[in-house]
């Protein structure tokens, strides 16, 4: 009897990280250098992509003297990343995104000198970059089905407001082209639209974005079948009753939505200030029908993160349908990367990712779960003097709990 009790106790105290088995981290960029700053920033947090045999990461840094955009590759079976290859060609470039295609190719997009640009890349070559839009544009994001269907979204200037546009990317003669460009919302913009996120589902594409039409920032979501127009958008984040007043303003803050998908399971995550006492919290909503309907807004982080703000959420969905969210927060005094995954009835306890927590600041995680269910994560490591390095780690699901 005592043995059974002891075993039961041991099971209950096994820490959350027992569900994930992390490999040692790999440095993607060289030793930190004073005055050189890497950033993993992008609409939808799409800086990392996994193709059949290749992992690719895109980021921005200023090591050349100005902010430019770079890519590095790693064989999935290998350990180290290649040397960085510059992909931007202008004076300044920011916020690169990437999506995987068939044959270990990747489609890339980024902001360069006030416009969105795109290109095609593999481990050896990058195609000649092409400008996406003739009007000022920024905040590009990409999503693909990992094979031959990929979509690009971005915000472009339309009169007084930035407006979210979406187009399908097509590969012709080793170049990337756009087709079927349309606004995510056909109605003329009534406020700024920004920071889109995309998910490619079997029947088409799901788009979400920040929208200021209601006098405060809200998140809207829409979907379109391949080759068809988007349906009328719906709000994604819910507003708490009684919080629309002189005291609370037109609505609490909400920002930086990200989407991920596996089959028809679509997960959205974002930063939400409905409980403003501790700054932004991480919220999520799940659709099981390819983005037609999203379930209730769910608080992702656990209660130990209540009193500090959470930042930079990134989301991934495993082939099994398990949803994983990563973010950073400073609950242990300095920022660490935290992970939570959705169980049958609740989100897991928060896990301080072992290689991305502790001394220094660990920030801006980007995550992807590959077709084998392995988690890939990259983040920014910042030391006390501000110098940065991009690090990468993989994790395998241990199977202690069912991956669902």
């Amino acid at each position: 009897m005592r043995t059974w009790l002891l075993l039961a106790l041991l099971v209950t105290v096994v820490p959350a990280w027992a569900d994930w088995h992390f490999s040692p981290y790999v440095a993607v960029t060289g030793a930190p250098k004073a005055g050189v700053f890497q950033h993993l920033e992008s609409a939808g947090r799409r800086n990392l992509a996994i193709a059949a045999h290749t992992v690719a990461l895109v980021w921005e840094d200023n090591h050349s003297g100005a902010p430019q955009v770079y890519i590095a590759f790693k064989p999935r079976a290998g350990k180290n990343f290649s040397a960085a290859r510059r992909i931007s060609t202008g004076k300044e470039a920011y916020e690169p995104v990437i999506a995987a295609l068939a044959n270990d190719r990747f489609v890339l997009a980024w902001e360069q000198d006030g416009h969105v640009w795109m290109a095609l890349a593999d481990a050896k070559h990058t195609s000649t970059p092409r400008r996406v839009d003739s009007v000022p544009s920024s905040q590009a994001t990409l999503a693909s089905d990992g094979r031959d269907r990929a979509y690009l979204a971005w915000a472009h200037r339309d009169g007084h407001f930035m407006r979210v546009m979406v187009a399908r990317t097509d590969i012709k003669r080793a170049q990337v082209h756009l087709s079927g460009m349309q606004a995510a919302d056909a109605a003329p913009p009534q406020g700024a639209q920004a920071y889109p996120a995309l998910a490619v589902v079997p029947a088409g594409v799901v788009a979400a974005w920040e929208d200021r039409r209601q006098g405060h920032t809200r998140l809207f979501v829409t979907r379109a079948a391949d080759g068809a127009a988007f349906v009328a958008p719906k709000p994604l984040n819910t507003l708490l009753p009684g919080r629309r007043s002189a005291k609370f303003g037109r609505g609490t803050g909400v920002t930086r939505v990200a989407l991920a998908q596996a089959g028809d399971q679509v997960a959205a995550t974002w930063m939400d200030k409905r409980n403003f006492h501790g700054g932004y919290d991480i919220y999520a909503a799940i659709s099981a029908d390819g983005g037609r309907r999203f379930g209730a807004n769910e608080l992702v982080q656990d209660a130990f993160g209540d009193n500090v703000p959470q930042w930079h959420p990134s989301v991934a969905v495993a082939p099994s349908g398990q949803v994983v969210v990563a973010w950073d927060d400073p609950r242990d005094d300095s920022p660490d990367v935290w992970l939570s995954w959705r169980k049958a009835h609740a989100w897991s306890d928060d896990l301080a990712v072992p290689p991305a927590s502790g001394v220094g600041a660990q920030l801006s995680p980007v995550i992807v779960v590959d077709d084998q269910g392995r988690l890939h994560m990259a983040w920014i490591q910042r030391s006390g003097n501000g110098a940065t390095q991009i690090r990468y780690v993989e994790a395998a699901w241990s199977g202690r709990s069912k991956q669902r």
């Binding site: 700053f37 920032t217 007043s245 803050g253 400073p330």
Partner: protein
């Protein structure tokens, strides 16, 4: 017999448009009558004039920001005091607009909020001309509060007392 006043269609449209403009202009924007600059402009001006910076973190739609604008920053004496003593900078805590930190790093206005742990809006920061933080003050504040904070910064009390020590001595 008096004729009831029925607004014409044109008049009604004008009233609606004015109301929309008025409401669109206020929520969470910087207060009227203050010369708020962008972060980069403000830092350049502060260095050139050797003046401290008053940095206002607001958010589009933020009610507490609007309450502060309406009830506190509308005070003419406060406007004069802060316009004289500080370079005024406004940052939208959800914006992707870029700025350059004193270190040379290019980040967004929202990222500046993450670096400075701006967990709510409004948050007010007092910075030295080189961008070094002096004090951070979150939430709605009265005219009296801002006059006290100005005394703390403008009279160099921050050089030998924390803001909490200063305020506990003043209460």
């Amino acid at each position: 017999m008096l004729r009831p006043i029925v607004p014409t269609f044109k008049f009604r449209i004008t009233v609606i448009l004015l109301a929309m403009l008025a409401s669109a202009a206020v929520w969470g924007d910087p207060p009227a009558g203050y010369k708020f600059l962008s972060y980069d402009q403000g830092l350049r001006q502060a260095r050139a004039e050797h003046k401290p910076i008053f940095l206002y973190f607001g958010r589009y739609g933020c009610g507490w920001c609007q309450k502060t604008n309406d009830e506190t920053f509308s005070d003419a004496k406060l406007r004069q005091l802060y316009s004289q003593h500080y370079v005024l900078v406004y940052v939208d805590a959800e914006s992707g607009k870029r700025l350059t930190l004193p270190s040379g790093e290019r980040i967004t206005e929202m990222e500046l909020g993450a670096r400075l742990n701006v967990f709510a809006t409004p948050v007010f920061l007092y910075l030295q001309p080189d961008g070094t933080p002096i004090a951070k003050v979150p939430g709605y504040k009265t005219v009296k509060d801002f006059v006290q904070f100005d005394h703390y910064v403008h009279d160099d009390i921050y050089k030998h007392k924390t803001l909490a020590e200063f305020l506990s001595g003043n209460s």
